[in-house]
Symmetry: C2
Subunit: 347 residues, 2 copies
């Protein structure tokens, strides 16, 4: 029996003290409690929240095979050399059932093992009760309260929840790579619009110039033409070139540029880190930070309310009544839309 399992279950207050005091074991346990939505998770998060708001949250997303994990590792090392601490949340598309593959994918982050200034947490996309977005937000809250200077959230850029998670960071990196297949190209194209910084990783591979040209052409269209302003996938408004002209050359507009890296050998990482830091400063100076923080908080609030209502629905639906209802629908005596209306009438 090791000490970790022998330790009695800490109270929420004990975990809060541990997280704020820099105890890695208690930090890990706090995150687990939050991930599992245990009874006192809300209490824990409430107590930690006043200590948040200092960390720079960086979202990293991209199609499979673009080398995101390697890039995140290299970025974290670069931050460490600058004396900063780094928390990493890696959202893994694999399931707990096949732990081997998951481990294999994270093997590249082993370069960070043993460094107490880095904390890495892998999460599976499935089995996340209460919603992936909410859970990820909660884990980021814990890492932020724990005092990590930079918090990197890595997701695969496919899937509604996964793309949303990366796009609600302070600074969002979209990672590309040359020479991937057709379907991957389509995925890449689909997430360009959320990028604050575009990264072409594996830039030592053949075809990199073609990838760069294609991206720069797309950016020109976006920067010079109509720009769609979205919030969580919903189109809020379309800014036309005329509307944009006013501030187009102003200092306050962030310019999305394409950067080249070879994460595996560290090429371009310092420049990328500098650009991320420049974006952070721009957020503060331009007033954009206030807007992003408001969106982040509104989003967090919505996620919490939604998760709690989902829990209440499930608790309130009488299992026996549900079974009867499902049987009636199966027999086509009623339909799910009418049945849902009846269920909702009492709420």
């Amino acid at each position: 029996m090791n000490n970790a399992t022998a330790m009695p279950r800490p109270t929420a207050a004990g975990l809060v003290e541990g997280v704020l005091g820099g105890d890695r074991l208690l930090l890990a346990r706090a995150i687990t409690r939050v991930e599992n939505h245990e009874g006192d998770a809300a209490e824990l998060l409430s107590a930690l929240y006043p200590h948040t708001g200092r960390g720079h949250i960086i979202g990293v997303t991209g199609a499979p095979g673009t080398g995101k994990s390697t890039l995140v590792t290299a970025l974290a090392q670069s931050y460490r050399q600058g004396g900063m601490t780094v928390g990493i949340v890696a959202i893994d598309p694999t399931s707990p059932f096949t732990g081997g593959a998951l481990l294999g994918d994270r093997v590249r982050m082993r370069a960070l093992a043993g460094d107490t200034g880095v904390f890495v947490r892998s999460m599976a996309t499935r089995g996340s009760l209460g919603g992936l977005s909410k859970t990820t937000g909660d884990v980021v809250t814990v890492l932020d309260a724990a005092g990590y200077d930079r918090i990197i959230v890595e997701t695969v850029g496919v899937g509604q929840a996964e793309v949303e998670i990366a796009s609600t960071a302070h600074t969002t990196l979209v990672v590309e790579a040359p020479g991937l297949g057709d379907e991957v190209q389509a995925i890449k194209a689909g997430i360009l619009e959320i990028a604050d910084i575009l990264v072409v990783n594996k830039a030592d591979r053949p075809g990199v110039d073609k990838t760069l040209r294609a991206l720069e052409m797309m950016l020109e269209i976006e920067n010079g033409g109509a720009r769609m302003i979205r919030h969580h996938g919903q189109l809020l408004r379309v800014e036309t070139p005329a509307a944009l002209a006013a501030d187009w050359d102003g200092e306050n507009r962030w310019k999305v540029i394409v950067m080249k890296t070879v994460a595996a050998d560290g090429s371009g990482i310092v420049e990328l880190r500098d650009r991320i830091e420049a974006h952070w400063r721009w957020l503060e100076e331009s007033g954009e930070m206030a807007i992003r923080e408001q969106l982040r908080i509104a989003n967090t609030l919505e996620n919490i309310v939604r998760a709690e209502l989902n829990r209440r629905i499930l608790a309130r639906l009488p299992a026996a009544g549900m079974d009867r209802m499902v049987a009636a629908i199966r027999a086509r005596e009623t339909d799910p839309y009418a049945a849902a209306g009846k269920l909702l009438a009492g709420m």
Copy 2:
């Protein structure tokens, strides 16, 4: 001005008549109305529902680059040769912003154009108000009512919602391909457990034997060892080898096997179609169909209730009050968990 845009907006009753009567234009408009959650969408779906329950719903999922679209096209052609009609819902990871890529990816389905026995609908994963799972289910309801014999739902096997959608079909195909990158391997491993049939597509490529061996080894572990029984990502129970031994050699247990295809030239497609049909018969004969239909209906009901509650929450939250609340959270005067508690107290 063409006739389609000049046509007056059909009533829900008019759309129902059109869908049931085989009018493709009205079918397309009914699907659009359902996708956009227009006011009378629930009325429309309620009226169509009694006409559903005949179509065989086939989920096709897999990592990017495994050739799912080509496989779906080949399968549809094979069904057509057998005299059956086919509806296809392709969930596309790209956004409306970059329509070009989306089109590019679906170009392979052009082989089906002009055949009135096939209906193809592409949907974007983002911007799906009310949830991707619910919307997909609604579109399947419309196609089922329209009388399509086989309804194929294609999703990329990454992302919580996307994997769930494929797994709630009657028969789920997980598509693999040899020689993809590390991250894609991890994604592949993560979705194996939802497969009723495993397909190794692009089986003319180097490395196919390695892929086959790896999959068969995994199947042996799953079939011979503990088997995790899940429903929508939640682990329901783990069946141990002892618990499985009873029916392991029984006729009523479905055996997941690995099949090889080269969708681009049609190799293995007839065999795959036969195996899908065998699964459909097994569902009926084993009694498993009743269980799957119950899960499907319970899931549909939950999705509808959830979407409606989300709508109500958004409608009820007073925008002004929200803004004040978000400002208070930003100033760390309160926290999102406490604020959510207050919002929920009145619901």
